[in-house]
């Protein structure tokens, strides 16, 4: 038995069918709209929250920005000044101090030796790195020369003894790359029978980084 057929008129059945379809669409539409609204709402709320947090951070950063930048500049300038001071220290450390050297020499020269000439020549050298990746070398070099006269019968021995002393000396041989007697000759300029000898010493101080 079909109640619909029996109890409802044909227009009523039509109306019921229409009611079902219409409400189903309306419900679906409502759910869709609700979904969209909820999605947008959630997104908006999340963004509002982030925006507010960002704003708080921006304010905090902005508040300290001037002081922060000023401290950054100070640190930069401090590094610059320290670098120059370091360079000056290197300059100082690489320079040969003449006073102790000249004073020590006085004590090393025996009585029968007379110095005729003393020379010290420094030079600043910039040497490019030979291999890529190695740093360039900045060096200070000093060459040393000494000429003198040894008098008396044992003049040769006196010269050799003097060179030995120089080699062992604190401000000469021990801090030098090389120190050698380069020439020695009998001083015949004034007297052909003389035992006096002229001698020449030269040396090279160890390179110093500057």
């Amino acid at each position: 038995m079909n109640l619909n057929v029996n109890l409802m008129d044909s227009p009523e059945i039509q109306a019921r069918k229409g009611f079902k379809k219409k409400h189903a669409f309306q419900g679906l539409g409502f759910l869709l709209l609700l979904g969209v609204v909820l999605f947008i709402g959630q997104h908006v709320l999340a963004n509002l929250k982030e925006k507010s947090a960002i704003k708080a951070l921006q304010n905090e950063i902005r508040l300290n920005e001037k002081k922060y930048n000023s401290l950054l500049t100070m640190r930069e300038e401090n590094n610059w000044a320290e670098k120059i001071k370091e360079e000056l220290e290197q300059w100082k450390e690489s320079s040969l101090v003449i006073n102790p050297l000249a004073v020590e020499l006085v004590g090393l020269v025996p009585e029968n030796i007379q110095l005729l000439e003393m020379g010290l020549a420094g030079e600043l050298v910039f040497r490019s790195a030979k291999v890529k990746g190695e740093s360039d070398e900045r060096l200070r070099t000093y060459s040393f020369s000494l000429a003198g006269r040894s008098e008396g019968e044992n003049s040769e021995d006196a010269v050799l003894e003097f060179v030995k002393k120089l080699r062992a000396a604190e401000n000469f041989g021990t801090v030098m790359e090389s120190l050698r007697l380069s020439r020695t000759e009998r001083e015949v300029r004034l007297n052909n029978n003389t035992t006096n000898r002229l001698f020449f010493i030269d040396g090279q101080y160890k390179e110093r980084v500057w």
Binding site: I54, L57, Q58, R62, N64, L72, R75, W80, A81
Partner: protein
């Protein structure tokens, strides 16, 4: 609601309503989006939350060292200024400046300066300062005088003690057999000097702003 059954006027009203609704939604979303602000560093204005948080942390770290940074900066600049004023050769009237130092030393040890002239050290024109990464360059003078060995020691010692940055780069003592009190002494004395005017200006401005 049947769209087809609506009158044209009603349809227009609905369309306007829909456009307004969409406009409102768009505006709300736009307001909620993080945006740049005027007067704020663009780097900060357009940064994400994570980037800003990192920035804030680095600010915090630096600001926590404020006292020591200021102290170190002031000390370094003060020291460098003192060194510059007392020991480094100036850029202007350099020979006059050097002459004062040399004559003072000569007077102190009682010797007479025969010659005093500017000396262009080999190094100053041979090495590539820029490449060497140096801020300083040497300024040199050649001094010729007559004195004994002991006077030479006194003269050189006085110069070295009066300026820790002085460098006696060359020395030549030529003996005088007839008069050991008057050997010929030639000395080349060098002082470090700022190579660039900009560095001097930078140092002068430090601490004054």
């Amino acid at each position: 609601m049947d769209w087809k059954s609506l009158e044209d006027k009603q349809k227009k009203q609905y369309i306007i309503l829909a456009v307004v609704f969409l406009g409102v939604i768009f505006k709300v979303v736009q307001l909620a989006m993080p945006s740049g602000e005027e007067g704020v560093n663009p780097k900060i204005a357009n940064a994400s939350y994570e980037e800003l948080d990192q920035e804030r942390m680095s600010h915090k770290r630096l600001l926590s060292k404020e006292e020591s940074i200021i102290e170190e900066y002031e000390r370094a600049i003060k020291e460098l200024k003192q060194i510059n004023e007392n020991y480094l050769s100036p850029k202007l009237n350099t020979l006059t400046w050097a002459s004062e130092k040399i004559y003072k030393a000569a007077k102190k040890v009682n010797i007479t300066i025969e010659t005093l002239e500017e000396y262009r050290t080999r190094s100053s024109f041979e090495y590539d300062r820029e490449k060497a990464g140096k801020s300083m360059e040497p300024f040199g003078v050649r001094v010729i005088t007559s004195c004994s060995y002991m006077k030479m020691i006194e003269f050189v010692s006085y110069l070295e003690e009066s300026n820790p940055y002085i460098s006696i780069s060359q020395i030549n003592l030529q003996g005088n057999d007839s008069n050991p009190q008057a050997h010929t002494l030639a000395v080349i004395i060098e002082w470090p000097s700022f190579a660039s005017e900009e560095d001097i200006k930078r140092l002068t401005q430090e601490g004054s702003s």
